[in-house]
Symmetry: C2
Subunit: 475 residues, 2 copies
């Protein structure tokens, strides 16, 4: 039966559209960090929505599971083909990489799901607009995957996550029918907003094949600052003052612990701190405006001068040049590189913005009491309540552990318990994938979990769309 | 059995919480314009989420339909208790009118569903923030109803509709269980975003009892202009220029036809046009900023001067005083009053923003050909693609019609067909209610309609939540 299915797929997709050789399939069967591996009968590379629909229909007839894949840059193994009754079909969207239309007057860009984010950025820039989603993997992540994982990044404080940038979707359903709503109406009150279901669904309810994305004006003025603070609570107070004055001009607001900044300064070349000593807490601020004449630097200087007078800030530096601005953000962007100096257990937690200081304090206490060999390292998107809380161990200590996996699990369990106790989320922006299904089943609201399983049954009754992802027990 | 149910309800809600006398129930059985009437066994006035849950559970045990009601200010009869197997229970939320919490650092206000919008505005203003939803009924409309109808208004261009202001919901499901997520996390990628289902669902999937609303900074500077234009296409070009420069500073952008402005000037006292003649098309613009020193008026003057030089605008007036600004907006806000001078058939249509000029032209042609006795009158939220297209007849002509209802239906059918042909919506902001179920069944995408019916079955298998609304045939 598999052979028949493969012949049917080849007949529909052509030789270019189907991979069956192990060597050719290999990159599609493992995540980009090579941590988890799956298997598949074949990799389908459809070139159009019609071809995706045909693949889904053929798989439905054969009872095979489908594993949608975008840029394969996820962190939770959501794109690794594993789970389901047996090996199935990877559906990789990379050949669907067309910018279908740019409607500048409506501020809408319509794209294939396989368009890489960088390409969408470039197309928008050509018309003086932006698709304001900014993250580390933008050179490889595809729009379909970014929608299916409701991607975040540094621009969320201003523009929201991917959910707020999607104004229309084209989705192939489990039975091969195509749900299409790419008109990108800004108002449409004619019932349930179905597209919301597929955003962040990690490919479990349908395969996203196209999207209408909201364009925003390009920025023409900017300002950048590094502020030294005594505590996360002071950072939060400063953020409130910034919002009072600057509102949507705040493009980024990143909080770093002294431990994180010191790691970067020690490990990464050409990084510097503008102050004599690394401050206890660092807040990095970016402002932007579409108006080229907006006096953002001057205004930011005023606001920070007042914060210094009031004793809210310990010190502050507003970038006076492009190169000073780059110096600030080089420190922020060197975090991943610097953190390799130790063995870091990273957690992608979110709490209500006002609870960030209390959460960090409680997590620090937890580490000090239960895991005294770990140094707490914090990088937080403060305006989103998103704390990347890292328990950093020395490599030598880690190598000496008898059961390192048990320690990974124990730290994660304790920190997730803590986040849940604060009413927070165990996955702010990375998703659940195949990595956190157990944690979601353990800590998720049972009623919400039950309703999610009901939605899954409604839209994918045979559990053939990315089985094993999100819900540990879909039925 | 009804008597038993009423006794159970009275036992749970007390005398204050239950109305059964016809005179007391009457205001809850008809819409505010007195156009449609329903019936009910009783009106429940629960004072807490627990009481709503108890009412729903009692109704479930008795197999009675439930009719949730907020401020009862809808335009599509969504709150009129009609439909379902027999008379049921109106659940009016007015006693749940508590502001539960304001968390300024997190920019979140948590409220009971029965809080009136004006009260939410006032509470936000006290902490220098706003709940930026602005519409005519804000003195009576309640948060729960505004969420259930995904309300719009004039601020949508800047802040989006109600959907974008809701960051958490508390909902009583059809079986009486309470789904609660009021933590208002800005990031939470742990599966399907269930709250989206209930926003705009018009009470058909659950009863909203509480909400967490996003607060935005209050505005501290503003600017207002009336621009005279030759065509809607020119208005659209001007809007693009405004967006390039002012981005989120654009708070309102309203397009009016000459026919509409002339009606206002003729019918409403103390209204004036700043130009010698009423221009073919009027664009009213409001800019705002949280920064009190933002030079918006000056910048707007510059941009409009260029538009005049280029021939894009015919004339323009930037308000030099508060009273000039009020003069502009008095004309806009007098539209409903002025339109009573004729018999107007209003349509709440949306098309993609870039298609507004073509839609208006096509609708004008349709009227000229098919209904030459009607004058086309247009008020549009241009930035949202939302056109309130009005076929205005003279009262004398209308009184002479043999079958006025047939004319109402024919005009509506033709204009909805036209909107659908443009890929547009037959209800941009007013909803479907009990008024447009037939039109939705006729013109909605059949696949979308099928999926909506599936969601309804999943969450309300016995069709007891606001039956007769939205879906003409839910199963």
């Amino acid at each position: 039966m598999s052979d028949q299915t493969i012949e049917r797929l080849r007949g529909r997709l052509g030789d270019r559209g189907l991979l069956t050789e192990p060597a050719a399939m290999a990159p599609f069967l493992t995540d980009w960090r090579g941590r988890e591996e799956g298997r598949a009968l074949c990799v389908a590379l459809p070139a159009s929505t019609e071809e995706v629909a045909a693949v889904v229909a053929i798989a439905a007839a054969a009872g095979l599971p489908l594993f949608p894949q975008g840029g394969n840059t996820g962190l939770c193994y959501g794109a690794v083909p594993r789970g389901g009754a047996g090996p199935g079909i990877v559906v990789a969207l990379q050949r669907m990489n067309r910018i279908r239309e740019i409607d500048r007057a409506a501020n809408v860009m319509t794209v294939d799901a396989g368009v890489v984010l960088d390409a969408a950025h470039a197309a928008a820039a050509e018309v003086g607009r932006q698709v304001p989603l900014y993250l580390g993997s933008q050179g490889s992540a595809q729009i379909g995957g970014l929608i299916s994982t409701n991607a975040g990044g540094t621009g969320v404080i201003r523009y929201g996550p991917m959910r707020e940038l999607v104004c229309g979707l084209e989705v192939v359903l489990a039975d091969g029918r195509v749900l299409c709503d790419l008109e990108a109406l800004k108002k449409n009150n004619t019932g349930y907003d179905l597209k919301q279901l597929f955003i962040g669904a990690e490919g479990t309810l349908g395969i996203v094949t196209g999207a209408a994305l909201r364009l925003h004006p390009a920025m023409a003025a900017d300002a950048h600052a590094w502020v030294a603070l005594a505590t996360p609570a002071d950072a939060l107070s400063l953020l409130s003052r910034l919002q009072d004055r600057f509102d949507t001009a705040i493009l980024a607001c990143e909080l770093l612990s002294r431990s994180e900044v010191d790691l970067v300064l020690a490990e990464v070349e050409r990084t510097r701190c503008p102050f004599a000593e690394t401050p206890p807490w660092t807040l990095m601020i970016e402002l932007g405006s579409a108006d080229p004449e907006a006096p953002l630097g001057e205004r930011l200087q005023d606001l920070l001068a007042t914060a210094l007078e009031d004793g809210l800030a310990l010190d502050a530096m507003v970038a006076a040049s492009r190169s000073q601005a780059e110096d600030i953000w080089r420190v922020r962007h060197s975090v991943s590189e610097a953190n390799r100096a130790g063995f870091g257990l990273t957690h992608d937690v979110a709490v209500r913005v006002s609870k960030v200081p209390a959460f960090i304090a409680a997590a620090d206490r937890l580490l000090a009491e239960r895991f005294p060999d770990a140094v707490p390292v914090v990088v937080a998107h403060l305006g989103d309540g998103n704390v990347h809380y890292i328990a950093m161990f020395q490599h030598a200590y880690w190598r000496g552990l008898n059961d390192p996996k048990a320690t990974v699990a124990e730290v994660q369990t304790r920190l997730h318990d803590l986040a849940a106790g604060f009413g927070g989320s165990i996955s702010a922006e990375h998703g659940i994938g195949r990595k956190l299904t157990g944690e979601l089943a353990r800590l998720g609201d049972p009623l919400r979990y039950e309703l999610m399983a009901g939605l899954k049954r409604l839209l994918d009754p045979d559990d053939r769309l990315n089985p094993g992802v999100l819900l540990a027990r879909p039925s």
